[in-house]
Assembly symmetry: C2
Homo-oligomer: 358 residues x 2
């Protein structure tokens, strides 16, 4: 039987609803039952300055510096499912991105705990509580709130999109802006994915959720670690990797030109071992436009479609869900924090059930 | 009846033990019952660049920047006690300092949740997940691990103190070093205490725990907010404030000179409204020594004693507990993470019970 794209998507949407009946035992609003919680650092490197340390007249000589690790906070619910979920934030974000929604409701951290998954939240190397960077950095208070408003597809500043799944209380926008936190050193997908692979060595087999800029480090993590059993990528926007010699053309937009990156075929093929799903929200233009915030995403979605096709052409199992195509409208770049984030979580649960990862 | 200092301290130690029988219902190793958890930003300021924002050719013009807020993660247990505990970390630390101990056991976050307190963990402005600083900063990978080993009173690098309450597995030290995370802008006790006061406006009346450098911002928070009902200060080391005209002499040490800071008498007197307890660990020298890491703490303890005396002279209720004086030996600068951290938590519980704050 051959199913076309729309039929598959419709089935997926129904699956999302029916899957809810299975894990609903975990969906109560009652107290969370947490068997264990805590935090740790993992991965990273050590810099050593030559010389002998003088305890009473200390200088750099003979001292070390620990940096480029991940910070992770984990919670294991009572009667946990077998596979934990590891959540990796996007640009200018920290693990905070998965906690409370900007409007104060439960985010993916707590929603998936309620569904029985152990949840690991990460601050990537050189961000948040993992701020010790082995490379120096300068931090400026760059005023970019309005640019982010556009780029997060809340609307075209100062107007919200009519259908936007974002609460319009000023405090909600305040929380969104204050969720931003800077890099403490250069962004480095290699450093991040090295530390993420070390994290998966510690957690054992698990499911990786990524958001936005974490898409690229996410693919690299699955190449470096066979512990990654699936990837759920929310609006990956950069770091799309293709086999050497199979790079798609550059994609110009009003926000700049998006380029794919080359990796050896053997690495790329490691991504064909596992199920991967990519979700994208609403208000993407279909034709080029001068609206920078939206046009930025037009080419990222286009690149994502080319990437999914490449994975599947090489025998993989990747799927792209553009939410408006299955009747889910108004989502911003922060799907996991939007007003309908429970519906998005239900879609993800259905995907995990379909792939027998729950 | 007049009790001398030692008798009071001995009673306090006994109280710590007997108090354990009261909250022991919360002390089980079973699953935590979490009624609610989440995170938010609070306090801070907004910078605005003059001009008109151009959505399609964005520059700084007409844009804003949100910074200098606190990031807080909270958990409310089922059947909570009335007063929450807010925990503020020290220098080079984040809220991580209160989570898992360096050797992997439950830290004060989870211990006090088990004892029924709602717990708020803070990343202060310009640190960790609250990295958006309104003032620029440069971050260098400064090699200081060996200096910190000495300054945290683990021992004299590379040797541990014989009696140290610190697990000697290499991974434990690795976790301690990787708990460090830099400032993303200048340390500013005024900015921190402003945001902390805003946090207490949100939580309502509560108990403030501070560690190390947070001592100073902690006193300022209690001056700015009448919601602070008590302060439990673990090894406050700087920011000791005295009424103008009552400053103690500067205290020189092998690690530099420690100076008190002046505040108006009316502000100082606000600290006499609430019970305050300060705890200090072991391996403080009693006489000046060339050992920098230890001598640093000799003068901080000395200043703390002067400060407690000043609070009490003005009618306040401050107490300094030097743990070796009540028979508790080997504690490092990180009392809440030491091998005997449950005993330290028991002391704190007894203090809160004595002050009817539980």
């Amino acid at each position: 039987m051959t199913l076309n794209h729309k039929t598959l998507l419709a089935m997926l949407a129904l699956g999302a609803l029916s899957a809810c009946s299975t894990p609903c035992g975990h969906l109560s609003d009652g107290p969370l039952q947490i068997a264990k919680q805590g935090s740790f650092a993992v991965g990273g490197t050590v810099l050593t300055t030559p010389g002998v340390y003088d305890n009473n007249r200390p200088s750099a000589q003979g001292q070390t510096f620990h940096g480029d690790h991940i910070y992770a906070f984990y919670q294991v619910p009572a009667q946990p499912r077998a596979l934990p979920i590891v959540m990796l934030h996007g640009a200018f974000q920290s693990a905070r991105t998965w906690e409370t929604t900007f409007d104060g409701r439960e985010g993916f951290q707590t929603l998936f705990l309620r569904r029985g998954y152990p949840v690991y939240l990460v601050d990537q190397p050189r961000r948040g509580r993992a701020g010790n960077s082995t490379v120096a950095g300068t931090i400026e208070p760059a005023p970019n709130d309005q640019l982010f408003f556009d780029q997060f597809r809340l609307g075209k500043w100062p107007a919200y999109f009519d259908n936007v799944q974002f609460d319009r209380q000023p405090e909600t926008l305040n929380q969104a802006f204050r969720s931003l936190t800077p890099n403490t050193g250069p962004f480095d997908a290699g450093v991040i994915s090295d530390a993420m692979a070390a994290l998966f060595d510690k957690t054992g087999p698990g499911i990786l959720f990524t958001h936005s800029q974490a898409g690229g480090p996410g693919w690299l993590t699955a190449i470096k670690s066979d512990k990654v059993q699936a990837i759920v990528a929310l609006e990956p926007g950069s770091g799309f990797i293709f086999p050497t010699g199979e790079l798609p053309p550059e994609l110009p937009s009003a926000a700049g030109t998006l380029k794919a990156e080359a990796v050896p075929l053997a690495d790329f093929e490691k991504l064909t071992r596992i199920p991967i799903v990519l979700y994208y929200g609403d208000n993407f233009p279909t034709e080029p436009t001068a609206e920078r915030g939206q046009d930025n995403w037009r080419v990222r979605l286009q690149m994502a479609r080319l990437w999914v096709a490449a994975i599947n052409r090489h025998g993989g199992d990747a799927r792209l869900v553009h939410l408006p195509e299955i009747g889910i409208r108004g989502n911003t770049h922060f799907l996991m924090s939007d007003l309908n984030n429970v519906a998005i979580a239900n879609l993800v649960s259905a995907f995990l059930a379909e792939k027998k990862l729950d």
